[in-house]
């Protein structure tokens, strides 16, 4: 079965219009000294960050707002009970001990913080039966200092929370993804130690403006994966003994279809030769063991200053969806890794024992050793500095880069947090009136409840009366059914809706 898959994979690579460039550098090395400095690096993300930066520069200064509320959870108690009791701004401190639960945070500005005593962490123990350790959807969460193990799904998973901080956690032998922020904007994933994950140890999915920095990831199928995301900085991570080290991907078939402006910088990408133990059918099951950095279809990826050594198949692999043989094609996803930029990486000892898929490909090039860098598409809009230093395949059309480094970008997180969700300018009262009340109250015609016009005559200058009644209605009229309570709207929303109801004119 494996052999067949390899043969099919190689055929697909060949059949997909594979660029078979001149592999060997035959020309003599040209020594040049620049007469003037190169231009500064710019990108849409760096522009956005620079434009938002006012006053003194501070890097990754994002913090979860706190209110002074403190809840301490002790061994034997439930973290979720604390979350339920917490108000936005609360700090929940979890003492060392073992916690067998799934924690979900559907509130804003919650700090979930482990207390570490003499190296003892609070342990979230999934026992191989629980799904995910921590789920969050709220804005502004911090999740730190936890030891998470034996969950079936993810260690820490975010759905659309903005301004998140996930740091200083251990995630060990836990399911599909270790840390998985998804569909959020502005976040930091730093100083986590993650191993034994059957997909990506750190997986940033469909997100904008995220820094993944100072993490240690190993013995997972993928170390760090940036997928269908924009403005991501992956820096100073220690990535070793995974199947593939650092990935920038477009996964076809997702609702957000672009990936771009990803800086992969100053990481250690070492000996990523782990056997692929991914779930059959998953995208990462296609990754050949021994891949250091992999860019599939992601645009404007800068790979700079990394130490990339001992990866048995290839140091850097740039490719299109021909690698994704298991997924259905998505006509709306652009497959090429456009405008790749490769700067000043240290590369040594890569490609010495290529995985079968890579070996089959190399055979077509009359090669046996994997290259430092291969571009299977043969992009003509890429750039590389000092190409003579590396053994490359498919980079013949790459030019010189217009910039020599990206040091002017210190972070892709935003200097100010993404604002709270309730947008200015939208009238909450109006939205609640039309979005909820109007199901039963039309302006001047009878629906399930009395017309708004009648209520206006009744309540006049008394929105408080409407709000109070709506929260706790009683049967008033024989000719109408009793109103169902609207306590699901908070007091502020109820008052706003009541005020709007009294002034609406049609």
């Amino acid at each position: 079965m494996n052999k067949l898959a390899v043969a099919v994979g190689a055929l697909v690579l060949l059949g997909g219009g594979y660029f078979l460039g001149q592999g060997k550098q035959s020309e003599p090395t040209v020594i040049k000294v620049a007469s003037e400095p190169k231009a500064a690096f710019t990108s849409s993300g760096s522009d956005e960050v620079a434009a938002a930066t006012t006053g003194a520069l501070s890097v990754r200064s994002l913090e979860t707002p706190t209110s002074g509320e403190l809840i301490v959870v002790k061994d034997g108690e439930s973290i979720q009970d604390a979350v339920k009791a917490a108000s936005p701004g609360a700090v929940i401190k979890v003492m060392p001990g073992t916690y067998k639960e799934t924690v979900y945070i559907d509130k804003d500005n919650i700090t979930l913080s482990g207390v570490i005593e003499q190296g003892r962490y609070p342990v979230l123990e999934g026992e191989g039966v629980r799904n995910d350790a921590v789920l969050y959807s709220g804005n502004g969460v911090t999740i730190e200092n936890l030891y998470i193990t034996h969950y079936k799904g993810n260690g820490i998973m975010g759905q659309a929370g903005n301004n998140y901080i996930i740091r200083n956690n251990y995630v060990v032998d836990t399911g599909v993804y270790g840390i998985f922020p998804q569909l959020g904007k502005n976040g930091i994933v730093s100083h986590n130690i993650i191993s034994g994950i059957e997909d990506a140890a750190i997986y940033v999915g469909m997100s904008d403006h995220v820094d993944v920095v100072y993490n240690q990831v190993y013995e997972s199928v993928a170390g760090i994966e940036i997928e269908n995301s924009r403005h991501a900085l992956v820096e100073a991570n220690y990535v070793y003994n995974n199947t593939g080290g650092i990935l920038a991907f477009i996964t076809p078939g997702l609702p957000i279809k672009t990936c771009g402006d990803v800086l992969i910088r100053n990481n250690f990408v070492v000996n990523n030769n782990h056997e692929n133990f991914a779930i059959p059918g998953s995208l990462v099951s296609n990754i050949p063991a021994g891949a250091g950095i992999l860019n599939m279809a992601c645009d404007d990826v800068v790979i700079e200053g990394n130490i990339i050594t001992g990866n048995d198949s290839v140091g850097i692999l740039l490719t299109d969806f021909s690698l994704a043989t298991s997924a259905a094609k998505d006509p709306d996803s652009e497959p090429n890794p456009n405008r790749p930029k490769i700067l000043n990486n240290i590369m040594q000892n890569n490609g010495t024992n290529p995985a079968p898929l890579v070996r089959a490909f190399l055979a077509t090039q009359l090669e046996t050793q994997g290259p430092d860098i291969v571009d299977t598409v043969g992009m003509d809009d890429g750039c590389i500095l000092n190409p003579e230093r590396f053994r490359t395949l498919g980079l013949d059309k790459y030019g010189d880069c217009e910039f020599s480094n990206t040091s002017n970008v210190v972070s892709y997180t935003l200097p100010e947090p993404v604002p709270p969700r309730s947008k200015e300018g939208f009238k909450k009262g109006k939205l609640a009136y039309y979005g909820v009340c109007a199901g039963c109250h039309a302006y001047n015609s009878r629906m399930i409840g009395p017309p708004t016009q009648i209520l206006q005559a009744l309540y006049m200058d008394n929105p408080e009366g409407i709000a109070a009644y709506a929260a706790n209605p009683v049967k008033k009229r024989d000719d109408y059914p009793e109103m169902p309570p609207q306590g699901h709207l908070d007091e502020e929303t109820l008052m706003a809706a009541a005020k709007y109801m009294l002034k609406v004119k049609k």
Binding site: M157, L431, A442
Partner: protein, 405 residues
């Protein structure tokens, strides 16, 4: 206190009077109010929802609890919307007057029909199951195989399909132009187009009116929504447990059935079985002319899903429990021999327990909200009787058969 009782009494009197006028076969009068959920602004109805308080990443309308909506259609007038409602329920739109849009999209059946495969004018089941019309305002593509990109384009499918409503554009125009009440109503909906005496009803007006009605079918006030907006008491403990399974990366439901609409509007090859004796349905392969999309179908929204059994493109699963269980019975377990499908990567072996499946069903039932359900007219401009309840009767007979499969 007098005033409180007097006003409704006056209202009732008015209703009685206008009822008598209607009984005398006088003009139909189109509503001047927008449907619930819409604000009348400069003559047009614009959607209003609490979800409009929230943004979404790159405006895609997918995310978590407090996430903004995908792009939507609105901006029709109250009159156009109400005219669409009459058309929707009127069997005059079908070739032989035997079915209306509502026959397969019945308001009391979640705007579906309770059938595995829908039944058109021939009395025979068609190829696929009728999807719900709730929240179609937010959809980018239509039909299970995503072959239409607008509602106007979509409705021409069933209207003019020999097995569904069996009409033709010419016949439809002739029918409606031959009904004075409709000429009058179209003139109310498009006064400027009917300024001259000889003005005729046009196809684009028919499509626009029905679209206007369809995009008014908004369902965003379920108990789940109350939870999402911050009222956590709206859901019971088992339902919250179900929600956490739903969004967990073990069950992975929310990866494709993504809030707030509970669909990511993509096509997915998941390999559900076709009905016994039916040939393999290639789905979106035909639409996209893409072999790797063989057996691919649009991810349906799960809003009001409890109302629209049976499930999947073929109506193969009688209950939500059966539909949920499909995902834990093994990747590709129902793919016919000889078919090589690119099964979606989120279809795996989550090994969900019986309890977990029950909780998932508990949660999906919290997505029900019919608070904006429109009125069903008991009298139609064509003078014909509404027929959708007859077909629904047929539907309940057929249900029994489906369950035997």
């Amino acid at each position: 206190m007098m005033k409180q009782y007097l006003l409704p009494a006056l209202g009732c009197l008015f209703l009685v009077l206008s009822g008598q006028l209607i009984a005398a076969e006088q003009d139909f009068q189109l509503k001047e109010d927008c449907p619930p959920g819409f604000e009348l602004t400069t003559g047009h109805c614009e959607l209003r929802s609490l979800y409009q308080m929230y943004p979404s990443l790159v405006g895609a309308g997918v995310g978590g609890l407090k996430t903004g909506l995908p792009e939507w259609r609105d901006g029709f007038t109250p009159q156009q919307t109400d005219l669409g409602r009459y058309l929707f329920f009127d069997p005059a739109l079908s070739g032989d007057g035997s079915v209306s849009c509502a026959s397969c999209h019945h308001p009391d059946k979640g705007f579906a029909d309770g059938l595995g495969r829908s039944i058109g004018i021939t009395g025979e089941p068609v190829a696929r199951s009728a999807p719900t019309l709730w929240n179609v305002a937010f959809l980018k593509s239509f039909f299970w195989d995503a072959r239409a990109t607008t509602l106007e384009q979509q409705m021409q499918g069933p209207l003019f399909d020999a097995h569904e409503m069996g009409n033709s554009p010419d016949k439809l125009l002739a029918t409606l132009n031959g009904i004075p009440a409709y000429r009058d109503l179209f003139a109310q909906a498009w006064p400027e187009d009917f300024a001259s005496d000889g003005a005729q009803i046009r196809l684009d007006q028919i499509y626009a009116a029905i679209t206007a009605f369809q995009v008014s079918l908004i369902s965003l006030n379920s108990r789940y929504d109350h939870y999402a907006h911050g009222y956590h008491e709206a859901l019971t403990e088992p339902e919250i447990e179900g929600m956490n399974i739903f969004r967990s990366f073990v069950a992975r439901c929310s990866e494709c059935h993504t809030p707030p609409l509970f669909t990511n509007q993509q096509i997915a090859v998941i390999g559900t079985p076709d009905p016994e004796g039916m040939p393999f349905d290639i789905g979106a392969q035909k639409t996209l002319k893409e072999p790797s999309q063989r057996g691919g179908f649009k991810v349906p929204s799960l809003r009001n899903i409890d109302l629209t059994a049976p499930y999947m493109h073929s109506g193969r699963f009688a209950t939500l429990r059966d539909a949920a269980e499909f995902y834990t019975d093994g990747r590709g377990h129902a793919v016919p021999e000889g078919e090589e499908l690119k099964i979606h990567w989120h279809i795996w072996e989550p090994k969900l327990s019986d309890d977990e499946l029950d909780r998932l069903v508990d949660f999906m039932k919290t997505l029900t909200d019919e608070s904006f359900k429109p009125d069903q007219p008991d009298r139609l401009p064509s003078g014909m009787k509404p027929v959708h309840n007859d077909i629904a009767q047929l539907g309940s007979n057929h249900d029994v058969e489906t369950q035997h499969e």
